[in-house]
């Protein structure tokens, strides 16, 4: 049963990716019209434009271009970047590693903090700490990253000088130096996600606290500590885990603003510059990879949820 579910979910993810690849292809290869002209600008000679189109293969029929591109993509070849004259996969790969470092730090900060905050808010429901966490978290979530990021830089980098204002550590820096550089952007991301995850956790805990089975556990005589840890959290954290997993895609692939703001060489920054420089192969390849990251994290979220929930895991195995 579980196996079939995984297969179906995986198949759906593949279909979504295929659709995405078509959209990306249309957006980056077809809509710009004459790719060579867009890259070289209005003052280039027609000969050099034609030559570039021939080199990029953008003079061929769209269907041929697409099958060629997608065929390369599945074998790990996304073509070469125009601006960097390097394979797209290599550039994207390096950027992904950087992004993953930032994501990992943000993850390590935000997940425990927001789950803890959500549980605390639920247990102190209606009191001051609950209001602080829910209202504060929501307010932080709706502040755009470019506002909170600039405020953070102004306070901690410019005024206080405690932390570096750029995320990229000098080449060859050790682990802790790198992390010190990543701390401000990670806090910026924490502000975005804390309210969301804390609220989901809070709602789950409150629901579980009011559930009949929690009443049963309390009236069995289980100590409150055990009731919360075992009876409540086990059920309450299911939706939280799913939400956290589904945010992995955003954390790794969706950080254009934060990475640009903190001038960090991640995938967001890479895509941003590719778009600015009309580097279509890089843009297309990068977006496709980010799409795959999002799909992967959604898949992870679904699998985590269904594996942790015995009602789904054991469905049909009477």
């Amino acid at each position: 049963m579980m196996g079939r579910f995984v297969l179906r979910r995986f198949g759906l993810a593949l279909i979504t990716l295929a659709l995405l690849s078509v959209l990306v292809f249309i957006g980056t290869q077809l809509l710009p019209g004459d790719v060579g002209r867009r890259v070289l600008g209005p003052f280039a000679t027609q000969e050099s434009v034609d030559a570039l189109n021939a080199r990029l293969g953008t003079d061929r029929p769209p269907l041929v271009q697409y099958t060629d591109w997608i065929g390369g993509a599945v074998t790990g070849d996304l073509g070469d970047s125009i601006t960097f004259a390097r394979p797209v996969t290599e550039l994207v790969g390096r950027a992904l590693i950087n992004s993953a470092k930032l994501a990992a730090l943000a993850f390590v900060i935000v997940v425990p903090l927001s789950i803890w905050g959500g549980i605390l808010a639920a247990l102190r429901r209606g009191r001051l700490i609950d209001r602080l966490i829910t209202v504060g978290g929501l307010s932080a979530t709706v502040i755009p990253e470019f506002v909170s990021g600039i405020v953070l830089i102004l306070i901690f980098a410019v005024t206080l000088g405690w932390l570096p204002g750029t995320a990229s550590a000098p080449r060859g820096s050790g682990f802790f130096t790198q992390m010190r550089h990543l701390l401000l952007p990670a806090i910026c991301l924490t502000l975005v996600l804390f309210g969301y995850i804390a609220r989901i956790t809070r709602a789950g805990v409150i629901e579980a606290m009011e559930a009949d089975y929690t009443r049963t556990a309390i009236l069995k005589g289980l100590p409150r500590r055990v009731v919360i840890r075992r009876e409540v959290l086990r059920n309450a954290l299911l939706p939280t885990i799913a939400v956290v997993a589904s945010q992995m895609g955003y954390l790794i692939g969706g950080l254009v603003v934060v990475e640009v703001l903190f001038s960090y060489q991640g995938i967001g920054q890479l895509l941003y510059s590719a778009a600015q420089n009309a580097d279509f192969p890089l843009l297309a390849g990068g977006v496709l990879v980010v799409g795959a990251m999002f799909q992967g994290s959604m898949l992870l979220a679904d699998l985590a949820y269904s594996w942790l929930n015995p009602r789904i895991r054991l469905a049909g195995s009477g």
Binding site: M1, A211, D212, Y213, R215, T216, A217, I218, L219, K220, G221, L222, P223, R224, R230, E231, R234, N235, L238, L308, N309, P310, R311, L314, G316, G318
Partner: protein
């Protein structure tokens, strides 16, 4: 506390208990002046309609009140020890060792993500049983609640067990510590009649075995009567009467008790063409209402001036009882609230709806599930046909097939007034859709919460009749009158209405398109008895006025006996017995009907037929007769190999059973048929 004092004290002593709930800024009285005692080894019942405060009493005893609840007065003594003032540690100790509880809904009472074994083991762990002995103890206690395969059940999660099985597990947890007091709060509400009978038997056996005292809470008078030595009747947070069960029910000394008993159809009541059901008019007063005089005066048919001025005490009355009524000696002279004469109706032999050769096979995970098989049923004009059977027997599936929600298998023929009816609702005409309508069990989920009553009914009228705005509005108001609702409710939203009024709205909606057949799926099982009586009367009146037919799905055999003209008994997707209602109830019965009838809680247990186990899965029905795996009258190999047909054994009476009718008559201890068998038929 020494053993000596423990013996002298009663198991539970509630004195002058008063309790309030905070609603908005105000504290409102929910319980007042509650006094009762449960002796050691006694079963004490607490009965009353919903909202009377039964569960609040239980939760006060368990010391588990919602945050907006507080005890303002009185004491609750458990074996002599006041529980209203305990430290958290003492309270936990009390819950572990002295007092435990069984809840209404076993499906939600167990943690969905923890295995059964672990949840039961907790209890032993808390009692301080060493780890290596616990598994054995869990097995023992599951054995004790008659779970056949404890080791397998221990490994399961709650969602993998049936409701009856889960309630056994909850009971096992509750009795594991051999508590001094066991509180059962509506433990069988929501279970099938056969499962209910099993659970009640189990509770009774266990009580006798471990000698625990029981506080049994139920809205069902029949269940309380069967289970309890003494009973207290609760109304609006106050005790109305306390006394021995027999005395309280057979010789009631409070008009509320009299009213409750009259609402219930019983074998003695007579059928719907002979008499209406009496009702209790009016509503429960809102929480915390300031009422001078007797709180029941507003709804009491015996009310006098003094009742509205002076609240009666609990007055000692003959038969070792007390009654909170100035005129307790006149309680049984309570006048009827509705005319006794039943609405007259004309019945015809004309067939309205016929479903022939019907079967329905679902495909689940690639395997077929035989939900309906070989159904032949006809419903005549103006007739009520009741459909009875345990959950999972296919009653609702049959209803959905008739409504066109589920398309039946090929070969099924549905005819309305002799004309073929499309299997799918989308292919039916406006008139055909309006002709077959439905009233659901739970009006809360069947009515759109955001719409007003006018909009809910008006929408159905517009869709089914497609008339102008004025006609639609007139018809809506007319329907409201027909279901005895005033125009003041036109703009109300469902949440502003009581359960009974909501069900009236649902009935009005079903009647919007002048239906020929209304399918009523457990229409009163979510309602209190006094409301149930009013709704049943309403259905009977509407039938007399509109000459509509009902397919009445119910598990309450007393209601079925009262309202139905014919009864069809279903098991595992098949009709097992079909016949006129008097004939089906009189017998001889199909063995399955016999078991259903004897599961009804108002019968003496000597005649009890126990149905072992649970209804088999429809994906894998037993060979031969589908009932053979549980049949107490099974005769041999033929039952296991050949499925009997549904045959007309008497004119108008059909059974699906290999046992000849004469033999059934003998087996069931009935006198032989008066008419001697026609020699030609042998």
């Amino acid at each position: 506390m020494t053993a000596q004092t423990a013996i002298t004290h009663p198991a539970l002593e509630v004195r002058d208990l008063a309790l309030e709930y905070r609603i908005g800024p105000d504290w409102k009285s929910a319980l007042r002046d509650i006094n009762f005692t449960v002796e050691r080894g006694e079963s004490f019942g607490l009965v009353g309609e919903s909202g009377c405060g039964k569960s609040t009493v239980a939760m006060a005893i368990m010391h588990y009140l919602p945050r907006n609840g507080r005890v303002t007065q009185g004491s609750i003594r458990l074996a002599g020890r006041d529980v209203t003032d305990l430290s958290p540690r003492e309270l936990r100790d009390l819950r572990v060792n002295k007092i435990s509880m069984v809840y209404q809904n076993p499906g939600t009472a167990l943690n969905p993500s923890i295995r059964i074994g672990r949840q039961v083991e907790d209890v032993f762990e808390l009692m301080g049983v060493p780890a290596r002995e616990r598994e054995g103890r869990v097995r023992q206690v599951l054995d004790k609640v008659q779970i056949a395969d404890p080791i397998r059940v221990m490994r399961r999660y709650p969602h993998q067990l049936s409701g009856g099985m889960l309630q056994r597990v909850v009971i096992a947890m509750a009795i594991a510590s051999r508590p001094a007091l066991l509180i059962l709060d509506e433990p069988t509400t929501g279970l099938d009649a056969t499962v209910e009978a099993e659970v009640l038997d189990l509770v009774r056996d266990l009580r006798d075995e471990i000698g625990t005292s029981v506080l049994f809470i139920s809205h069902s008078l029949a269940v309380i009567r069967k289970m309890c030595d003494r009973v207290a009747v609760l109304y609006a947070g106050r005790l109305m009467a306390v006394g021995p069960t027999e005395e309280t029910f057979n010789n009631p000394s409070h008009p509320y008790t009299v009213g409750l008993l009259r609402c219930l159809p019983s074998p003695e009541t007579g059928r719907r063409d002979e008499t209406t059901l009496d009702t209790i008019p009016g509503f429960l007063p809102p929480l915390g209402a300031e009422i001078t005089g007797c709180i029941y005066a507003e709804r009491c048919g015996n009310v006098q001036d003094i009742c509205r001025e002076v609240e009666p005490e609990l007055i000692p009355v003959p038969g070792d009882s007390v009654s909170r009524c100035h005129f307790w000696d006149r309680a049984q002279e309570l006048p009827r609230t509705v005319p006794e004469a039943a609405p007259r109706r004309e019945r015809s032999e004309e067939t309205l709806l016929a479903i022939t050769n019907a079967s329905k096979t679902f495909v689940q995970d690639g395997a077929p599930v035989y939900a309906l098989h070989d159904i032949d049923l006809e419903i005549r004009v103006g007739e009520t046909v009741a459909l009875v059977g345990e959950s999972g027997s296919g009653k609702s599936t049959l209803a959905k097939v008739l409504l066109g929600i589920h398309a039946p298998d090929d070969g099924t023929v549905i005819a309305l007034s002799g004309k073929g009816l499309s299997a799918k609702v989308a292919q039916r005409t406006q008139g055909e859709i309006g002709a077959i309508q439905m009233v659901f069990q739970n009006p809360d989920s069947a009515l759109n919460r955001r719409h007003s009553v006018r909009r809910i009914i008006g929408r159905a009228v517009r869709l089914l009749r497609r008339e102008g705005r004025k006609e639609t509005d007139d018809r809506t108001k007319n329907l409201m009158r027909e279901v005895r609702m005033g125009s003041q409710h036109l703009l109300a939203k469902p949440r502003q209405l009581s359960g009974g009024l909501k069900q009236r709205v649902a009935i009005a909606r079903a009647f919007a398109g002048t239906p020929a057949l209304v399918i009523c799926d457990e229409p009163t099982s979510a309602l209190d008895v006094s409301v149930q009586a009013a709704i049943i009367n309403l259905l009977a009146e509407l039938q007399a006025e509109e000459n509509v037919s009902y397919l009445f799905i119910s598990h309450d055999l007393n209601v079925v006996r009262y309202i139905a003209d014919r009864v069809a008994v279903m098991y595992l997707g098949r009709l097992m017995e079909v016949g006129s209602s008097p004939r089906v109830f009189a017998g001889p019965h199909h063995p399955y009907t016999e078991a259903l009838l004897s599961a009804s809680p108002d019968l003496e247990e000597d005649t009890r037929i126990r149905l072992e186990g649970e209804i088999p899965a429809a994906s894998n029905p037993p060979s031969g007769c589908v009932f053979q795996t549980r049949c107490p009258r099974k005769i041999g190999v033929i039952c296991e190999t050949v499925e009997p047909p549904l045959e007309e054994a008497e004119p108008g009476w059909f059974k699906r059973c290999h046992i000849p009718i004469e033999e059934l008559r003998l087996l069931q201890g009935q006198p032989p048929a008066e008419v001697t068998a026609d020699p030609a038929t042998t």
